[in-house]
């Protein structure tokens, strides 16, 4: 999109500039984004040393990550060039060095387009598979659900990789799009991902982010609205383990919903479990309600379940409200220890300790799994959760005798 076009969109939306740390000034110029030092608010939680220079100047032209699509009829998947007009249609403007670099240097660019009024009868599956951590890779994908279409796109991240990617998402007026991202990486993967969605008039966008694997995974997931009546739901589930050979897992989700239009809705629910020395999760939930955004409704929630000592869960909800004329706005954040009373109750009914732990963790995630409600992946998702629980929770735990 040209600057002129952007300016006209902005004036159409009557967006006032908001002086807010939630909303850093974006730029397509890499030179405008110095290499982060770790002292910046938006980088202070991230272990930069373990990013293999993705945040700095790592060569992004690696080819060790491949993508394979399994798509039903009706959807278009194609490679696109650097000058494709599709790029930028989500309104994405890089806010950090890595996304600016991916914008310019992505080794692979492609588009997934669901034509107008098309309803896909099965999800589009895209398997992103890495074959090694040497040589960083980068990908830029633009997903477009044209007006009144209906589709689900599922990304599965597998194998070993050092990946920086950018996913632009355009949900046309009246369209219903679900995008699922399942990080099932091997223990050594590093993944910095940006996802940005523009949600049209009366459109529905659901983003499901499941992060289980990888060594460092950081996702910036952001959304804005291009018309009134749009709805965004962001659901997330993560499990950070401390006992990998590469240092504890770091899983970071930075979310930003920018209510840029009236009568829009957002609902953000992320739940995470942590276990083992060095496991670290970060959840930053930012919501900005602009002056134009009258009559909106927003709720964001993050809950963490800490299973052992030595883990850290950071959770920071932020709500900035520029208009009082809203339907409702709320947030909740809670981090709790594994509840010994629950464990005792289950065990007093004969259930063995490991099974009891599994039940409690499963229960913790259960309402979220129900909310995800993507039938085609539900079985797979439950299976992945079970495998993760089996791997982590069923491991013999200290003090597990009585």
């Amino acid at each position: 999109m040209t600057d002129a076009a952007r300016a006209s969109v902005e004036s159409a939306l009557e967006l006032d500039k908001v002086d807010s740390h939630l909303h850093p000034e974006g730029s397509f110029d890499v030179a405008d984004h110095p290499v982060p030092t770790g002292r910046e608010e938006v980088w202070r939680f991230t272990p930069l040393r373990r990013l293999r220079d993705l945040h700095a100047d790592a060569d992004l032209s690696g080819t060790s990550v491949g993508a394979e699509a399994d798509a039903p009829d009706g959807v278009r998947i194609e490679s696109i060039d650097a000058d494709s007009p599709l790029r930028g249609t989500s309104g994405f403007v890089p806010v950090d060095r890595v996304s600016a670099r991916v914008w310019h240097e992505a080794a692979r660019r492609y588009a997934v387009t669901v034509p107008r009024e098309t309803e896909l009868d099965a999800p589009v599956f895209i398997d992103v598979r890495g074959t090694g951590i040497e040589g960083a890779s980068s990908t830029h994908v633009v997903i477009t659900a044209e007006p009144h279409s209906k589709a689900t796109v599922v990304f599965r991240f597998l194998g070993s990789a050092t990946l920086a990617d950018l996913t632009e998402i355009v949900v046309g007026d009246g369209a219903q799009l679900t995008v699922v991202s399942i990080d099932d990486w091997e223990d050594d993967a590093v993944h910095l991902g940006h996802r940005h969605a523009k949600v049209g008039r009366d459109a529905t966008f659901k983003h499901v982010d499941v992060s289980f694997g990888g060594n460092v995974v950081r996702h910036d997931t952001t959304a804005e609205y291009s018309g009134p009546g749009g709805s965004v739901e962001m659901l997330g589930m993560y499990f950070a383990d401390g006992d990998t050979d590469h240092g504890g897992q770091h899983i970071e989700h930075r979310l930003f919903v920018d209510h840029t239009a009236p009568n829009t809705r957002s609902n953000v629910v992320y739940k995470g479990a942590l276990q083992g020395e060095g496991a670290h999760t970060v959840w930053i939930g930012n919501v900005l309600i602009r002056k134009v955004a009258e009559g909106i409704e927003t709720y964001e929630e993050n809950r963490n379940l800490v299973l052992t000592d030595g883990c850290q869960a950071d959770s920071v909800p932020n709500l900035e409200i520029e208009t009082g004329e809203i339907e409702g706005a709320g947030h909740a954040s809670a981090t709790g220890r594994f509840d010994d009373e629950q464990l005792f109750y289950l065990r007093s009914r004969g259930i063995e300790e490991n099974e009891a732990r599994r039940l409690v963790v499963h229960g913790f995630f259960n309402d979220l799994i129900r909310k995800i409600d993507v039938p085609a992946i539900e079985a797979k998702l439950t299976e992945t959760v079970e495998a993760e629980l089996a791997k982590n929770v069923l491991k013999a735990l200290p003090g597990g005798d009585r």
Binding site: Q342, Y345, I351, E352, E355, L359, H362, F365
Partner: protein, 253 residues
């Protein structure tokens, strides 16, 4: 056969000022088919006794023994005790969010029996147990104890008693917080359990009310971590008339 034998049991809890002794030598034997009521004032240690038998990690046994049919209960883990045939209906049942009653009951039954129950009869059994306790069948889809009223929690405990069918049941103030109709429903559940051959019951209560529906063979007055007096059902009537005052005063001397 099922005999629960508690001998000179001493139990402490960890407090800010170190270990505090709560049970100061409790001796009590529940023989085959007997129902014993334990009555006592608030804070006398009744729940401590119940939890200690079940193996709650908060309580430390510093002396004495507990055996079930001769087997050392104190050497067993919490879940082993349940599988050995002990059941504790809790004074404050715990909420387990996201775990459905159906899943919980099936998992518990499988653990106790060592094999999964037959699907068809099991669903019928569960629905029957819920129905007898005046809980409608939608209960099985709700999360364990979450959002249950006080009375529903207690009825749910007794439904579990029926389904898991232990050898000895310890009921900790199952009557408190129940209105008269619920009290009858719960008592009938306990009586169905008792009617079976050789089942033992340790009924902990603060009030004599429930003893009108569940008649005990023995009554023990529990004061300050010890049994202060024991007798037959008539002791309950005496407590009803006179209260605990004289025992509390005697214990304070």
């Amino acid at each position: 056969m099922s005999t629960l034998e508690i001998k000179d049991l001493h139990v402490t809890v960890e407090t800010e000022d170190g270990a505090k002794e709560i049970l100061k030598g409790v001796t009590l034997t529940i023989k085959d088919g007997e129902t014993h009521a334990i009555m006592g004032p608030n804070g006398s240690g009744k729940s401590t006794l119940a939890y200690s038998i079940a193996g709650h990690p908060k309580y430390t046994v510093t002396g004495g023994s507990v055996t079930l049919d001769g087997d050392d209960v104190l050497a067993m883990s919490v879940d082993e005790r349940a599988r050995a045939g002990l059941f504790l209906a809790m004074q404050y049942p715990v909420e387990v969010p996201g775990v459905s009653v159906a899943n919980f009951l099936r998992t518990a039954k499988t653990a106790i029996d060592g094999e999964a129950p037959k699907l068809r009869t099991w669903v019928k059994d569960v629905n029957g147990a819920l129905e007898r306790l005046d809980l409608d069948s939608t209960f099985s889809q709700r999360s364990v104890n979450e959002g249950f009223s006080g009375g529903e929690k207690k009825r749910h405990e007794i439904a579990q008693l029926e389904l898991l069918n232990p050898k000895v049941a310890v009921l900790d103030e199952t009557d408190s917080g129940l209105d008269i109709d619920a009290l009858k429903v719960v008592s009938e559940g306990v009586n169905r359990f008792r009617e079976q051959e050789g089942k033992g019951v340790l009924l902990i209560t603060h009030y004599t009310r429930i003893l009108r529906y569940i008649e005990p063979d023995f009554v023990h007055v529990f004061v300050n971590g010890r049994i202060a007096e024991q007798g037959g059902p008539e002791l309950a009537d005496q407590l009803e008339a006179e209260g605990y005052d004289k025992y509390v005063k005697a214990a304070a001397v």
